[in-house]
């Protein structure tokens, strides 16, 4: 039982990171039909932006974190929107897929060639103090990840459901044509989703790097898992992505402990295939009209 709780909590903490990445993924898909194959790299890069601020320019730690988030929003939000996605948005899904695959190579190789091929330690806001309750040890850093991720998600949900801009964004996501007729500034809403995606990815990056180190290749697994989490949860619902992320985090740990460490990656993928076969709209998704 203790083991199970330990696995559950570790799984939730990792899962919260996946959820942050998966939310951005679904937002982009909904508003602009962008399947972002560079999403994992989006979670890898911000930590390096913070490291560059700290180590090259001597900016203090907290200020570097803020700078990293802002720079990510500029680079992975605005620039991604207008330079990479902009010219392709009306050309269908495939060219965008190809372009984001290339972008993922570009980001990964740039960090490797311009910064370092080595894993980097990353300072943490929260001390590595251990709390042990009933045999389950959790580090403060891990709890912090879970807390920050959950607060971010709650805030995002409130923003989407409770503010005018948020509702306009949802309208854009559901049906851009109708939204435009209703007077929603669709272009601006799409930009907002790109900004939110970049900010969420940056949060995930700054939360995950102190625990698991920052490395240029970190995005490879993260991107795949965010992708799987988004589909499993429901590609058209933010809460689906959250559930998908947490579920896969926990499932991965349980699979490694009780099934096989060698095939731990297989379990989420088998779940993915089952979901596609039996509940194609995702666990929490709603059915989409079949567009012809």
């Amino acid at each position: 039982m203790t083991d199970f709780l330990q696995l559950l909590i570790s799984g939730l903490a990792t899962g919260a990171i996946y959820a942050l990445a998966a939310i951005g993924f679904t937002l982009l898909w909904q508003t602009s039909q962008t399947i972002n194959f560079a999403q994992g790299e989006f979670v890898m890069v911000p930590a390096f932006l913070a490291l560059i601020a700290m180590r090259w320019f001597g900016v203090p730690f907290v200020a570097s974190l803020v700078l990293a988030i802002l720079a990510s929003m500029l680079l992975l939000g605005v620039a991604f929107r207008y330079v990479v996605v902009g010219p392709l948005i009306r050309r269908g899904v495939l060219p965008l897929v190809i372009s984001t695959i290339a972008l993922s190579i570009l980001l990964k190789e740039s960090v490797k060639d311009f910064y370092s091929a080595e894993a980097q330690t990353f300072p943490t806001l929260l001390p590595d103090t251990l709390i042990t309750v009933a045999g389950v040890s959790v580090s403060l850093a891990q709890l912090g990840v879970l807390a920050v991720a959950l607060v971010t998600i709650v805030l995002l949900q409130w923003f989407l459901a409770g503010t005018r801009t948020g509702r306009q964004m949802q309208a854009t996501a559901q049906n851009p044509t109708v939204a435009r007729i209703l007077g929603v500034p669709v272009e601006r809403m799409i930009l907002y989703t790109f900004l939110i995606n970049a900010a969420l990815a940056a949060m995930a990056s700054l939360l995950v790097s102190p625990i698991y180190l920052a490395k240029f290749s970190n995005g490879e697994t993260l991107g795949l898992i965010a992708f799987v989490a988004a589909i499993v949860g429901g590609f058209n619902q933010v809460r689906g992505a959250i559930a998908g992320g947490l579920l896969i985090g926990v499932l991965d740990n349980l699979a490694a402990a009780y099934v096989s460490t060698a095939y731990r990656q297989a379990i989420p993928l088998i779940l993915l295939v089952l979901v596609i076969l039996f509940r194609p709209q995702g666990l929490l998704g709603r059915r989409e009209e079949r567009a012809v």
């Binding site: 399947i35 194959f37 990479v84 010219p87 392709l88 050309r91 899904v93 495939l94 060219p95 965008l96 897929v97 190809i98 372009s99 695959i101 290339a102 972008l103 190579i105 570009l106 190789e109 740039s110 490797k112 060639d113 490879e220 795949l224 992708f227 799987v228 589909i231 060698a262 095939y263 990656q265 297989a266 993928l269 088998i270 993915l272 295939v273 596609i276 076969l277 194609p280 989409e288 079949r290 012809v292």
Partner: protein
């Protein structure tokens, strides 16, 4: 271009390619022939192009996405390596590789194509990673991360293909046959149905084209091309391990087909050529070639999404008019 002209140009290219590794000084042409390495790279290009032709059938003609071509290449390569080491003739292994991957293609595609567009992409993504895990973990049959060493090159009608030029000719022969088959399919009523499909799905359906069946067969056939490419890859490299069959290389297959020009007949050859030869041209740049490749792909997608062949056709057409 008429069918006759296409065939003539194809034959001319074939003759040139066949002569590429031969020293022509003896017959008075000042051409030394490619060395071992050049021949090896050309063979690798042909093998890559076979798998890319399969992707092109799926992506360019049937309008689906496959993220598992490298996994199918892997299945063909492992099957061939394992059974030829057990004494089965190469021809049987080659046919079995094509058949097995065709059957897997049907099994994967049938359920996935019932649901929405893009779901085939998701299913192939999962399949690709699962295959890679099996290649890595089932050491008793695949050799695990240590791979399989000393895969023999086969004989063809009693003619041993150990020599690199002979093996190259052998692969060139197979590639020509497979290219011709695909060319014939694309020009058959079946292939024309795809063109109709791409241009107007509603009309195609109303004309009685069974969209789902055609798409399924295209996916299975495209995957089988991957399996057969794998069957040639194993004896070419004489060593296989799981790394070239992971998810990343599957994505690169998509990349090369779209860059070459998806839905065009020559696209896969051009795309495979760039993927195989570019690192060679940019060798002085060490790993920077990946940065350059990535930027080129993004620029290409932004300005010429129809790929190199599409661009070339447009330029030629403009020149012909002026």
């Amino acid at each position: 271009m008429s069918a006759r002209n296409s065939l003539l140009i194809g034959l001319a290219l074939l003759v040139l390619l066949a002569l590429a590794p031969v020293d022509l000084n003896d017959i008075g042409v000042p051409y030394p022939g490619l060395r071992r390495y050049g021949t090896y790279i050309l063979t690798l290009w042909l093998v890559t192009a076979i798998a890319a032709m399969g992707v092109n059938l799926i992506v360019g003609y049937a309008g689906q996405e496959t993220l598992a071509q490298a996994a199918f290449v892997g299945i063909g390569a492992y099957l061939t390596a394992i059974v030829t080491k057990a004494g089965v003739p190469f021809g049987v292994a080659f046919a079995a590789s094509g058949l097995l991957t065709f059957v897997i293609g049907i099994a994967l595609g049938f359920p996935a194509l019932r649901v929405q567009k893009h779901y085939l992409a998701f299913v192939t993504l999962a399949f690709s990673v699962l295959c890679w895990l099996v290649f890595r973990n089932e050491q008793w049959i695949t050799g695990g991360v240590m791979g399989i060493r000393d895969i023999e090159r086969p004989s063809f009608l009693g003619w041993p293909l150990r020599n690199h030029i002979r093996f190259y000719w052998f692969v060139l022969g197979i590639t020509s046959i497979m290219t011709f088959v695909l060319w014939w399919i694309v020009r058959s009523p079946w292939g024309r149905a795809f063109t109709a499909l791409r241009e107007n799905p509603l009309r195609a359906e109303s004309l009685g084209v069974d969209v789902r069946l055609y798409t399924l067969l295209a996916f299975a056939l495209g995957s089988a091309y991957g399996g057969m490419a794998g069957s040639l890859y194993a004896p070419l490299v004489e060593f296989i391990d799981p790394s070239p069959f992971a998810l990343g290389p599957s994505l690169l297959f998509m990349l090369m087909v779209v860059i070459g020009g998806s839905g065009t007949f020559l696209g896969p050859f051009v795309g495979a050529g760039i993927a195989v030869l570019l690192p060679e041209w940019l060798r002085a740049w060490e790993t920077w070639y990946l940065l350059i490749y990535a930027v080129l792909v993004m620029v290409m997608m932004a300005f010429f999404p129809s790929g190199i062949v599409g661009l070339a056709t447009r330029l030629l057409a403009r020149k012909a008019r002026s």
